[in-house]
Structures are given as structure tokens and as C-alpha cells.
């Protein structure tokens, strides 16, 4: 049986534990090889070499050239540089961006801000299965469109968007294409050339790397302006002393993720399918949100009628299982998640949604324990709630 003292983590879309191999790779860069990569002396040169190697590793993991990778402080900053870097925030010229309604707040809030200062944003809708319609994007293109930003995979419902097809439209219309691949790297293949994107955001802490570091892929020739100003680091796009231990760890995590991709994704997919089957076999009035097949192998977003998400989350937490309701960032607010809203989920279900996001270390034993605990949890909460008119 399950050792109940061991906590089970199934919230890998929020963040992941750092791989011990990654911590080992980082450690020498804290107190021994601690130089500033801009320094000319041997400490600085060690740091600079580590930085170059890390850049090559991250680039390699997404099929890019080393010079096309700029390091940032995380996915949010990468998204901001991509969007703010393209649109002319200060020129007074009105420009147009196309994005989707299910983007992460790092993209949506940045677009909202741009709208607030006079630019135009088209937020294309998604189907009830959470997929963007490529025609909607094509139709939205205008003469003043400068950027399309559509995420590779959604952080809440795990749906995978048709980036390759969008890339064709972007290319035909000479518009930049950015994709937020924060959730997809390490779960499905991510290759900037196959995808055909001009920019792509990654976040280290979602792939068993350290927090506080990420990258923006910027295709050679893409014209970007920086958001912050300083010492001209990262090709002038992202100033500040480079976080060498973080970057080294991120690069190690990227390499490992690439190496393990086939095995990890099939293993996570097997467990995820088992969760869905067990839940549907044992619990009534449940729905799987998102698309049946066009989804990340580690994501199961489920809605239960007559129960509320936070209550489920807490009971599962007490039972030692960590999951989330919607995205980590929004679980403190009582609004229904904008993603679940945008797929038109029945109001009876929308507040009873949880996201189970697996990682490569989860096991079938843990999945069994989850399924059993979830059944008890839903049953307990339904006893409290129904048949109050819900």
C-alpha cells in the first residue's frame, strides 16, 4: 500500500522539483566558479564559457542556433520581451496583434496593456475543445498586424495549438509569430524550425530546472527592442549580470528533457490515461476538459458536478496529493478560470474543475491512490452539497 507519509505531487504545470542532476550541475557555480561573465579575468572567463555552453545546450534542445537564444528571468519575461519587443510601444503608431483567449496571463496581460495604450488586439476564440481555429487567425490579419502570439500548449487544459499551420499564415502575411512553449517543452517535441516560429518562450522551472530563469528564442533577423535597459547583455535584449548557476541548471534540465522526451511522454501519457479511465469508471457527472488527443501527455483537467475545486484541492492536499484548480496563478481568486470560461463549460461544472499535471517521477501506484482518494473526495463533497439546488 501507499506510504501515506509520502506526499504525492501532481501539479507539474505549476512548477517542478529540480532534478538532482541539475542541482549538481549548478553547485560549482555558486561559490567556486562564481565569476561575472563580463569580467576579463579567469573567474569571468570560466563564467563566460559556462554561459556559452549553456546557450548551445538550450539552443540544441529546441533545434535553434546558439546566437538565437537569449536568457531571461523566466517565462513571463520571455513573453513580455517577445510582445513588447515587436510592438511599437512609444512610436505613437497604432499596431495590431493577434492572440488567443486562452493565453497565459503573461501574454494576455501584456496584450491588454498594449490595448490600453492604444494598440489593437484581436483575441481569437477557441473551440469547445480548447483549440484555436486557424481560419480565425487568417481572417484577423490586417495591414497593421505585426505579431501573432499563440501558445504551443495550454497550461490549464493542456490543449496543443496548430502552430505549424499558423506559421504558414504568418509567413504568407509577413507577420512575426511568437509561441509560448512554457508548457510543451519536455512533454512533446519542440523544434523552432518545424514549428516555423520567429520567437518561442521557455521557462526552466517547468522542466525540472531552477526557478528564476528562462529563455526567449529569437530567430535570426527578427527585429526586437529591449524592455529593460542596462549593460547590453544578451545581445542588448536583456540586461543584467547573467544568472550563471541558474542558466547552467536550466541548460542541464533542457538537455535531460530532450534526452528523456520519448520515454517520459509515453510514461506520463500512460498514467494520465489510467487516471481518466479510473475517474470515468468510478465517478458520475464528470467531464474531461480540453481535447481528447491534441493535449499534453501529462495533463488531465477534469470537472465534477456539485463539487467545488478548492474544496477538492484541500481534501486531496490533506490526503497528501497536490493538484490545482485551474492555473496556479489564479487559484486564489474565486473567478472561474478564463480558459474554462472560453471553452464554454457548463456553469454547473466550471467551479468543480481540477488540473492534474503529471511529472516523470509519478508512478502507477500514485495514480491508483489518487483515483481512490478522488472518488472518496467527490463523494464526500457531494454529500455536503447535493441535493441543494446546484
Amino acid at each position: 500500500m501507499m506510504d501515506i507519509m509520502k506526499r504525492i505531487y501532481m501539479d507539474h504545470s505549476a512548477t517542478t522539483p529540480v532534478d538532482p542532476l541539475v542541482v549538481d550541475a549548478m553547485l560549482p557555480y555558486f561559490s567556486e566558479r562564481f565569476g561575472n561573465s563580463s569580467s576579463l579575468h579567469s573567474f569571468g572567463q570560466e563564467a563566460d564559457e559556462a554561459l556559452s555552453l549553456a546557450r548551445a545546450q538550450v539552443a540544441d534542445s529546441i533545434g535553434a542556433q546558439a546566437e538565437e537564444v537569449i536568457f531571461t528571468s523566466g517565462g513571463t519575461e520571455s513573453d513580455n520581451i517577445a510582445i513588447q519587443g515587436v510592438i511599437s510601444r512609444d512610436s505613437g503608431k497604432k499596431q495590431h496583434i493577434i492572440t488567443s483567449v486562452i493565453e497565459h496571463p503573461a501574454v494576455l496581460s501584456t496584450c491588454d496593456f498594449m490595448k490600453g495604450i492604444g494598440h489593437d488586439i484581436t483575441y481569437v476564440p477557441v473551440s469547445s475543445e480548447g483549440i484555436v481555429n486557424v481560419d480565425d487567425i487568417e481572417k484577423a490579419i490586417r495591414d497593421d498586424t505585426v505579431l501573432i502570439s499563440v501558445m504551443h500548449a495550454n497550461n490549464e487544459i493542456g490543449t496543443i495549438q496548430p502552430i505549424e499551420e499558423i506559421a504558414k499564415i504568418a509567413k504568407d502575411n509577413d507577420v512575426y509569430l511568437h509561441t509560448d512553449a512554457v508548457q510543451s517543452v519536455g512533454k512533446i517535441p519542440v523544434d523552432v524550425n518545424k514549428l516555423g516560429v520567429d520567437m518561442l518562450s521557455i521557462s526552466s522551472h517547468k522542466l525540472h530546472g531552477p526557478k528564476g530563469v528562462g529563455a526567449l528564442y529569437v530567430r535570426e533577423g527578427t527585429l526586437l527592442k529591449p524592455v529593460t535597459f542596462g549593460g547590453g547583455h544578451e545581445s542588448g535584449l536583456r540586461p543584467g549580470t547573467e544568472n550563471i548557476p541558474g542558466i547552467v541548471g536550466f541548460a542541464k534540465a533542457s538537455s535531460i528533457a530532450k534526452e528523456r522526451l520519448a520515454i517520459d511522454s509515453s510514461q506520463m501519457g500512460r498514467l494520465r490515461d489510467s487516471i481518466i479511465k479510473k475517474v470515468f469508471d468510478t465517478i458520475d457527472d464528470v467531464r474531461l476538459n480540453g481535447h481528447a488527443t491534441k493535449r499534453l501527455p501529462n495533463n488531465a483537467n477534469l470537472s465534477f458536478r456539485y463539487v467545488e475545486g478548492e474544496s477538492m484541492l484541500m481534501l486531496l492536499d490533506i490526503a497528501g496529493i497536490a493538484i490545482s484548480t485551474g492555473s496556479a496563478c489564479s487559484s486564489r481568486s474565486r473567478h472561474a478560470s478564463h480558459v474554462l470560461d472560453s471553452i464554454g463549460l457548463d456553469p454547473d461544472y466550471v467551479h468543480g474543475s481540477i488540473r492534474i499535471s503529471l511529472g516523470r517521477d509519478n508512478t502507477m501506484e500514485e495514480v491508483d491512490y489518487l483515483a481512490g482518494t478522488l472518488r472518496e473526495t467527490v463523494s464526500k463533497l457531494r454529500q455536503i452539497s447535493s441535493p441543494a439546488k446546484c
Partner: protein, 121 residues
């Protein structure tokens, strides 16, 4: 984040259920907002001899529901109406900041149930 008492009440709520032929029923909220609290009261000689609830909602909604029913049960109707939101929160060992949104809903449902009883009477 939540006090021990809240977690205790949330995981082992008292007075869950429906009172058939209740003397008063009060309901607050909607599924759209994500909380529905229904309080049932049975009144004998002006005393709330039984108070039960059904709650669809978050941890605060459920724990305040059970606490309100416990505080109200055995009190006279007038006494029950003096129970304040603060009383409920204190009995639960306080609410985390930013979580007071639905803390008053259970009390509102009790008030509505009492109103319903008085309207009928």
C-alpha cells in the same frame, strides 16, 4: 494558510443535511458564482432545535456553514440573529486575508431561513 480549526470543521462538518418539513429554509448564492448555501431550521417554542445545511462551495463556505449551524442550534431565534460574522470567524480561529469574500454567506442563509420561518408564522 487556513487555521487548524477551519480544516477540522471543513473535513468533519457537523449538521450536514436537509430537514424535511423545515420551518424555514434560506438559500444564498448561485452555481455561477461558485457557492450555494442552503440552511434549514426547525423551530420549537422560539428555539432553533435543529439547524442543518447543504453547501456547494469552497473551504470557507463549508466551514462557515457548519460553524453557523453549530452556533445557532439551541439558541432562540432572537439570539441566533445576534450572531455576527465576527463570532463565526472567531469560532473558526480567523480567516486568512483575502478569503473573507464568502465568509458571510452562511450567516446570510441562516438569516434568510429565519425570515422564511417568520414569514410563514
Amino acid at each position: 494558510m487556513y487555521s487548524k480549526k477551519i480544516i477540522e470543521e471543513f473535513t468533519n462538518p457537523k449538521n450536514v443535511g436537509i430537514i424535511e418539513n423545515a420551518d424555514g429554509v434560506g438559500e444564498v448564492g448561485s452555481t455561477i458564482d461558485g457557492d450555494v448555501i442552503t440552511v434549514y431550521v426547525k423551530v420549537n417554542d422560539d428555539v432553533l432545535t435543529d439547524v442543518k445545511f447543504k453547501t456547494f462551495g469552497c473551504v470557507v463556505a463549508i466551514s462557515t456553514s457548519t460553524m453557523v449551524t453549530q452556533l445557532a442550534k439551541g439558541k432562540t431565534v432572537d439570539e441566533a440573529l445576534t450572531i455576527s460574522n465576527e463570532d463565526v470567524q472567531n469560532a473558526l480561529g480567523g480567516l486568512p486575508s483575502g478569503k473573507d469574500r464568502c465568509s458571510g454567506f452562511a450567516l446570510d442563509a441562516l438569516h434568510k431561513a429565519i425570515e422564511d420561518y417568520r414569514n410563514k408564522a
